[in-house]
Assembly symmetry: C2
Homo-oligomer: 461 residues x 2
């Protein structure tokens, strides 16, 4: 184990380097932000390709090798600082595609970087171009300081649409992309005061429930009382599946494989800086299922859920149309936590629904395994130590309630540990109008990554 005294990186030199980088960082970020790499919009595919070329050129301008790898969809940028093939390889994952920016709330054009003091406004500034650039600057310093490590960059252009082509690419090029570990920089701290490292992501299993009881709308006067009502019957099924007031899932066996958060994790949640008021404000929630922060954190990070996203069928216009509709369809998804298995959970749902109402058809929708992050061992210790070095604060390990398709894919196909070092803050506004990144996070991020590369180079996983 290498301790601080044995660092190859000169801390004062790193500070000087980061300070001197600010102008270059800002012009590089401005260039990346100026290209509207909106993966969701087919009309932007030319911009997406232009963004890929610009990113590859940027990597090359830093002295890295860079290729634009084709997929059946948008390409992936693969960069590499190679020091020696005998050295360990660490892969940094970021994405260069962005959300659309049509919101009327944008105060300036979203694809022209606007610098206000320490803030960098523009679509993609924090999600995920700013963090990608910060990691690149950190890597450059580590490489120039002769840290014995090879650093790969995987910059995706389909993260915002669920990474539909990543798995195939990784599988095809797994030899070339071989790595000892991956660090993903696309996550959000709980607050600026408390750096957060992700200790896990929830998985997902979607399902559609459909019930048809007649051939067409029927009259609720002429037939009502005897005619079955598919909306009412599906509402009853949903109510048997979960308690909407508490969120408690009532499917027998559903919780069997849930690994409860460890005492250390729960303690880490407490240190995360989570606040109910900020959470409600950030998401526009009027009230929550729980009043205790510990319950809320556990519910969004460490517990599985079942939610209904909509109940289709019947009349949805103004007023009341007194029909009994022929069919209804409920759209559900379950967020899953380690060690729940999506396929197994789907079968539990299906057999319970069939028991509740045999006429309901149950169809599976998209599926994603939960991801269990690493919170102990050399890599986790390195991440913790690097963040403490970069930001002067002890990070908390928290889980993410959402699901990032790429992460499970990376772990599965590259068969190596995946860690998270995110640099974004809640106020930066992922997917929101007037998204921004800031120099404080870029500055700390460069230092964090430089140090992380050094620490990882000298530790075994």
């Amino acid at each position: 184990m290498v301790d601080a005294r044995a660092m190859a990186i000169d801390s004062a030199a790193l500070d000087r380097y980061v300070t001197s980088c600010r102008g270059g960082f800002e012009s590089s970020l401005a260039h990346l932000v100026s290209i509207p790499t909106i993966s969701m919009d087919p009309a932007r595919s030319g911009d997406v390709r232009r963004g890929a070329q610009a990113a590859a050129e940027l990597l090359r301008s830093f002295g890295a090798r860079a290729d634009v790898l084709e997929t059946d969809g948008n390409p992936v940028i693969f960069g590499r600082f190679e020091t020696d093939s005998k050295h360990p390889t660490l892969t940094v994952y970021n994405h260069m595609d962005v959300q659309p920016a049509d919101e009327p709330e944008w105060q300036r054009p979203p694809f022209e970087l606007r610098i206000e003091g320490d803030r960098y406004y523009g679509r993609g500034a924090t999600d995920d171009k700013g963090p990608a650039l910060s990691a690149l600057y950190g890597a450059k310093f580590a490489i120039d300081s002769d840290v014995p490590i090879n650093v790969n960059f995987l910059w995706e252009l389909e993260e915002e649409i669920g990474s539909p082509n990543l798995e195939k690419l990784l599988h095809k090029r797994k030899r070339e992309l071989k790595t000892d570990s991956v660090v993903v920089s696309d996550t959000i701290w709980i607050s600026r005061q408390r750096p957060a490292l992700s200790a896990g992501l929830r998985g997902l299993q979607g399902a559609t429930l459909r019930l048809q009881t007649s051939e067409r709308d029927v009259h609720s006067g002429l037939t009502g009382g005897a005619a079955r009502n598919p909306v009412g019957e599906l509402a009853a099924v949903i109510t048997e599946l979960y308690d909407a007031r508490t969120g408690r899932v009532k499917i027998p066996g559903f919780h069997k494989d849930v690994v409860p958060p460890s005492r250390a994790e729960l303690a880490s949640f407490k240190r995360s800086g989570f606040s109910i008021a900020s959470f409600k404000k950030a998401h526009g929630l009027r009230s929550l299922r729980f009043r205790e922060p510990s319950k809320v954190m556990r519910a969004i990070w460490a517990e599985p859920t079942l939610e209904v996203h909509g109940l289709s069928g019947g009349y949805h216009g103004p007023g009341i149309k007194t029909v009994i509709p022929p069919y209804a369809e409920a759209k559900l998804s379950m967020r899953l936590v380690p060690d729940q298995d999506p396929a197994k959970v789907f079968l539990l749902l299906k057999s319970y629904v069939k028991k509740l109402n045999p006429d309901v058809e149950v169809r599976p929708e998209s599926s994603l395994a939960p991801f269990r992050g690493i919170v102990t061992g050399p890599l986790a210790d390195s991440a913790r130590q690097a963040v403490r070095f970069g930001f002067g604060r002890e990070p908390a390990f928290v889980r993410e309630g959402g699901s990032i398709g790429a992460v499970v894919t990376l772990q599965k196909t590259l068969r190596c540990p995946v860690l998270f070092i995110g640099l974004s803050l809640p106020e930066h506004g992922y997917h929101a109008p007037n998204e921004f990144f800031d120099w404080g996070q870029a500055h700390g991020g460069m230092k964090t990554f430089a140090r992380y590369f050094e620490l990882v180079s000298s530790r075994r996983n």
Copy 2:
């Protein structure tokens, strides 16, 4: 009480009259059907007025007085055979407006009467122009046979849109429209083998339930578990309001004022010719809540209901969008039976919903009192006897599951008994493509009405 021997009407003469009327009936029906009096379509208001004039002229051609009474909407045709102001007055209610006829299944132009054997195809043939004309022919014979009665005709042109202007008109002209009883001819038998007289109509109370829990769609990963789900919570409320499998309403006090059908009514239901197979086929229902015909009849005619017509809010497109929506809205209505009071029932609903979930807003929608028909006494006996005379079969008193706004209005403003003598059959296809009426029902109807006027003229209510 007048018995058959004391009849003023000569039975053989009536038979000859009805037979001789066929040609005139068919050409009058063809003329009425040729005018597309679609009250629902503002573009047809010229046709509606033309229909009113044609109907008034028809009445005059029979020797009746006829006026077209203006309202804020479509006019009402008021006709009168006056024998002597000292004689009792009976009012026949029919309507001259029709449903649209856009269905691609029409095999011939819907507004050209097509005669095929005994059948008269065309929009409005059975709903309600054919029955109106049959009653008029019956009245003409009674008047010409010196039956001591005045017969009024109220032919509405807004029945298919809920009679929005009828109450105001009746109220304004109540002296002129004064009558001793009303007979409505706009109902359907259960089968050709069994004449049916309506013994009641269900009322209606609509309601909208709305729950808002956030300002916008939120992410079911980032917030799911702690964020409230308005679709799930409303589904739970609906499930507490009624058992969708059995239809049983669970609102406390809801059934308190329900008058159960009498033993005589239940016996009459049994004789009605109702068949589950025909009912399912007629409405395109795959299965019912009950297998026993007696339970089905009771459920659609004599029991109140609560149904959900749609649950809005959330995602309704293809696949699954994993959002938790900001609000949801359930559209409900309750069919009510005597002696339930719509306003009282709404309050019961509202206070129960508030108890179940205080954040749910409950708004009243359209409201209609249940109608309790007359099944005993001189008028009911006359109707029964007249139908037996006209069709050679004993009629059954059944209730109607639907609600006809005009009926409650007639009873309330004219303050007199309202009875039903319908002539339509299920196969005639109310509101359906290829609607038809038939000579058998017209023939029996003319005889029934002639006899009914005679019986009523000599009986006290």
